[in-house]
């Protein structure tokens, strides 16, 4: 809108008085970030799937219907059935808890270990900083998938182990980000002022440096959450995650792969669900990053 337009708009006061109410509603609607609302909606649904799967589907995710194998999507089976006659939608809903808890555990490992490393490195500086950051560089240098596969082989298969393996690859990113934030905040005048008021190192760290560095780390956590779901699905797809009867999303994609020609939905729908959740997490992360000062 140019200056002239808005100017004319304001001078027309009588009209403005009548339409002000409508305009406000319209403006509010136009300003509503549709993508963000959708993202929250997606994430809420998935969380509800994980928390109360029985509300969403009447089928058992593990028990197949004999004779009902590889059925196309229909009113009875919304997303069709797999090679053992199990309802795909039920498997997706019941699988949410595996993917979500795995992702949360993975991000938790990365967040806690990574931020702690970054906090120590950024605030202690000197030799400690150099040693920790070179370690992080080594972690970054190994391809993530290779690293998580090596860790799984050391720890053994399973959902929890897969989560730890994915979390370990996230440590480097968290450590880097946290360190740069800490270095920024540490040079702020209020931190020096806190030392000047007689604060000990630990107190200043806890009271000033940590809370002021966390905002972007929290935004990064949301991105990492999406990324962790993707990684866990990848491990599941490769067969390093949860063992077969578990309706884990990556495993669903892998199992459907054999029937791609006849039952494309078995691979496509779980894949789309993973993509949607990852995108939603990214969108939410962006909004966190923007709203922070």
């Amino acid at each position: 809108m140019t200056t002239t337009d808005s100017f004319l708009h304001v001078t027309d006061t009588t009209k403005q008085g009548e339409t002000a109410g409508w305009l406000r509603v319209l403006a509010a609607l136009r300003k509503l970030p549709l993508g963000l609302v959708l993202a929250w909606l997606v994430l809420t649904t998935v969380v509800l799937w994980a928390a109360m799967p029985w509300l969403f589907t009447a089928y058992d995710p593990l028990q197949g219907t004999p004779g009902g194998q590889l059925k196309a999507p229909s009113a009875a089976h919304l997303l069709g059935t797999d090679s053992l006659g199990r309802d795909l939608f039920a498997r997706l809903v019941y699988g949410a808890v595996h993917s979500l808890s795995g992702a949360i555990a993975a991000v938790g490992v990365g967040l806690i270990v990574g931020s702690a490393l970054g906090l120590v490195a950024g605030s202690a500086r000197g030799r400690v900083d150099t040693v920790l950051m070179r370690l992080v560089d080594v972690l970054l240098a190994i391809p993530t998938l290779l690293l998580s596969l090596s860790i799984i082989i050391l720890l053994g298969f399973g959902t929890l182990h897969a989560a730890i393996a994915v979390g370990a690859t996230a440590i480097a990113g968290f450590a880097r980000l946290m360190r740069s934030e800490v270095v920024r905040v540490r040079n702020a005048e209020f931190v020096e002022a806190a030392f000047g008021s007689g604060g000990t190192f630990a107190r200043v760290l806890w009271r000033h440096i940590l809370p002021n560095s966390l905002t972007s780390v929290i935004a990064y956590t949301a991105v990492q959450f999406g990324w962790a779901i993707l990684q866990i699905s990848t491990l599941g797809f490769l067969g390093y995650g949860a063992p077969p009867p578990t309706p884990e999303w990556g495993l669903l994609i892998a199992e459907g792969r054999n029937y791609l020609a006849t039952a494309w939905w078995l691979t496509t729908v779980p894949g789309l669900v993973v993509v949607t959740v990852v995108l939603a997490a990214n969108r939410i992360s962006r909004s966190i990053g923007r709203s922070s000062p």
Binding site: T3, S6, F7, F190
Partner: protein
């Protein structure tokens, strides 16, 4: 400057507003003024008075969320207030140009000086390269930049602040505009550089007959440099008229207040002399501070500085940027280990302190920072900020601690209702009061103030200085006060050190420093203080013999 000529700029009933969320906040309410050819008009006001918004509207550079609600802006007889930005682009630089506030940020760091000046010439008309270069060198010579042929190949980081501002002025006058808008052109510069830049703008105006709209918060600058003054407050003109008339007989209460608050040599009443025999609170002897440089060499920031401060008095450390004044006081506050020399606070040798002793030492010496926007944690409330030093030292029960915080907040003149607010909800003056409260809550002996009032408006500045004087009288505090503003120093200091390039060139009582006996450098500093035309400039400036270039 005949009155028949049409004004260069004629602003009528200008109303500006900014969009904040769904609301529009009006910042300028019906401002009208004119600028005649060859005239310097000063737009004076504190922050938030709408002076910068008005200037931005004139050149069509209002922020994205700002707009002109009503009123007209006639530039050379044409109303430009409804022009599109494309049409405005044609007159920017050619008819009206801007000298921005901060020379440090206003030049492109990856372009040479020559290329940036040439750009202006090229945008408004084709020139071949050699002709353009010749004009650039001519321009840089006319703004008094030394070795212009060398400068055009240099990058902004190779130039000092004063030189950068000269380049920006060269860009502004490149196309001989009818009007130059100078938005606080010298606020970021030292007083001696400030004087040279303002002299330059004045010379150029005389030579080319360009009009100048000078936007400034500094009434003293406006008084010295303008033909007419417009005083703005809260987006409304409080007073406008010929500079001499406004200064001699201000009609408006706000103008009178601004005049009385402006720290000028005229209004500064020297403090009574300190009686001899007071105990010494701070001793600095032969202080030397070196910093290692990237190249492996060392840079000597402070070189052999010595002074003593008696208990309950104020010692001012004065100098231009880079003179080592901040380094000196940071060493006193224990934030830096000096390379050589001795610093004693009371009976403690600051240099020998180790970590826990240093922490205990903080009870005695507190530092107040220049910038109250950076020195308070944005995530804490006022209560938490002032309480923090107490938590670090005194294991007081909660209610006693809160009582002390409340008493301190009251002592610095803030209402108790602010305790639960966070710093971003406070004004600059209120923040600085909070910072002072935090420094005083431990009841220190010595308070080190690093340019503690330079980031504030004059009226707020005057209030904080009064508060500091009161607190000194009541609590017997000793101040070490760093400032570049000699007018303030004369108002509040008992003794003064003048630093220049890390060396102490003058040291003595305020009267000695402001006497003709001071060194040429100190007299140059005093000469450069704006405000000579203030009506009550009773203070006799020492004559300056053979002033050589210093900047």
């Amino acid at each position: 400057m005949s009155p028949v000529q049409a004004p260069v700029l004629d602003v009528r009933d200008l109303v500006l507003s900014y969009r904040q969320g769904d609301e529009r906040a009006a910042v300028v309410h019906g401002v009208s003024f004119t600028v005649e050819p060859g005239e310097v008009v000063a737009l004076v006001g504190e922050s938030g008075s709408g002076k910068t918004s008005t200037a931005q509207a004139v050149i069509g550079l209002l922020a994205e969320n700002g707009r002109i609600d009503s009123g007209t802006i006639h530039l050379n007889g044409e109303d430009i207030s409804r022009w599109s930005s494309r049409r405005l682009r044609n007159i920017r630089g050619a008819v009206v140009s801007l000298v921005p506030q901060d020379p440090g940020n206003s030049l492109d760091p990856v372009m040479t000086i020559g290329a940036q000046v040439r750009e202006t010439l090229e945008i408004h008309g084709r020139l071949d390269r050699r002709e353009a270069d010749r004009q650039v060198i001519e321009l840089l010579t006319s703004v008094g930049l030394s070795e212009p042929a060398l400068r055009i190949r240099q990058y902004p980081h190779e130039l000092s602040g004063g030189m950068k501002q000269r380049v920006l002025i060269a860009i502004a006058i490149a196309l001989r505009p009818a009007l130059i808008i100078a938005d606080e052109p010298t606020s970021a510069l030292d007083v001696t550089v400030q004087r040279r830049i303002l002299d330059l703008i004045n010379d150029l105006r005389r030579e080319y007959g360009t009009s100048v709209l000078l936007v400034t918060h500094d009434l003293a600058v406006a008084a010295d440099r303008s033909d007419r003054i417009i005083v703005l407050q809260g987006g409304r003109i409080q007073e406008q008229g010929r500079t001499e008339d406004v200064l001699a007989a201000p009609q408006n209460a706000y103008t009178r207040k601004l005049l009385s608050d402006a720290p000028s040599l005229a209004t500064a009443r020297p403090r009574p002399p300190i009686e001899p025999g007071r105990p010494i609170a701070v001793t600095v002897r032969n202080l030397v501070q070196d910093f290692p440089l990237q190249s492996g060499k060392t840079f000597r920031a402070v070189d052999d500085v010595s002074f003593t401060v008696a208990r309950g008095t104020t010692h001012a450390v004065v100098g231009e940027s880079g003179s080592g004044k901040t380094t000196t006081i940071r060493a006193i506050a224990g934030f830096q280990k000096p390379t050589g020399g001795e610093i004693r606070v009371g009976d403690l040798d600051v240099r020998s302190l180790r970590s826990e002793e240093l922490r205990q030492f903080r009870r005695k010496v507190q530092l107040v920072y220049q910038n109250p926007w950076g020195s308070l944690d944005p995530r804490q409330t006022v209560q938490a900020i002032v309480e923090e030093p107490l938590l670090n030292f005194d294991p007081l029960p909660r209610d006693q601690r809160q009582a002390r915080v409340r008493a301190m907040i009251d002592r610095v003149g803030l209402p108790a209702a602010l305790l639960s607010r966070s710093p971003h909800a406070l004004s600059g003056g209120q923040r600085q009061r909070v910072a002072i409260a935090r420094a005083l809550v431990l009841e220190p002996d010595v308070v080190v103030l690093d340019e503690a009032v330079s980031a504030l408006d004059v009226t707020v500045q005057a209030q904080i200085l009064t508060l500091l004087a009161e607190l000194q009288r009541d609590l017997g505090l000793t101040y070490v006060f760093v400032s570049h503003d000699l007018a303030i120093v004369r108002q509040i200091a008992d003794t003064v050190s003048v630093l220049h390039n890390g060396r102490q060139v003058d040291y003595g009582t305020v009267d000695e420093i402001f006497s003709p006996a001071a060194t040429a450098y100190t007299r140059e500093l005093i000469q450069a203080i704006p405000g000579r035309k203030f009506p009550r400039a009773a203070f006799d400036r020492p004559p300056l013999a053979a002033a050589g270039p210093l900047s």
